[in-house]
């Protein structure tokens, strides 16, 4: 019984360490889709200025 308790405690420790060392990632699939967007093709070499409040998000 004592052996099982030690093994279980070791297992819990392993799970905790794994969780702590895993970087947080977004579960939102849309955010995952745009991750790294700056490596995509940039459509304009120059900045774009927009004067419409509805478009200036």
């Amino acid at each position: 019984m004592k052996v099982h308790a030690i093994r279980f405690a070791w297992f819990l420790g392993l799970v905790a360490m794994t969780g702590l060392s895993t970087p947080a990632t977004s579960a939102d699939p849309e955010l995952q889709q745009i991750a790294g967007y700056r490596a995509w093709r940039r459509l304009t070499d120059n900045p774009i200025a927009v004067n419409n409040p509805s478009f200036a998000a």
Binding site: E30, I34, P47, A49, N51, N52, S54, A56, A57
Partner: protein
């Protein structure tokens, strides 16, 4: 801005400008918060799927999975964006009134969706580009 009033897209002094003839503040409070600036700078990025349709002749539909990301920059040469506005082309029937595009407003680090809409202020502007699958062709 009425449907017939088309924004003017020009290139001058190294900056592409999109000028609307009659800019009005959005009606909803949360929209005012998100669109507080009357002029914003930004760069637009497109994934590989979107590049198969951009920039081409008009009336070509973007394939499902196309994504366009526009950064809102406080200054033209700012290192980090304040916000991202995103268009994602979804499956047919997802949003028939807007070419099946999904519009998102995401925080600058890309870690949180602040707003997700099928229309709203995004569509009120992009409807003017309906002939080009709701995407403005830049100069």
């Amino acid at each position: 801005m009425g449907f017939g009033e088309v924004p003017q897209i020009t290139l001058s002094r190294g900056t592409t400008r999109i000028r609307f003839p009659d800019s009005k503040p959005p009606a909803k409070k949360d929209d005012r918060d998100l669109h507080a600036d009357s002029t914003a700078f930004g760069a637009i990025y497109a994934n590989d799927l979107a590049m198969t349709a951009y920039p081409t002749t008009q009336s070509q539909a973007y394939p499902v999975g196309s994504i366009l990301v526009r950064e809102k920059l406080s200054q033209p040469n700012a290192a980090r964006p304040e916000l991202l506005t995103v268009m994602i082309k979804r499956e047919k029937g997802f949003n028939p009134i807007a070419g099946d595009w999904s519009f998102l407003i995401v925080n600058g680090s890309g870690s949180k969706v602040k707003k997700r809409t099928k229309g709203g202020g995004c569509l009120s502007c992009h409807q003017h580009a309906w002939a080009n699958d709701y995407v403005f062709e830049l100069k």
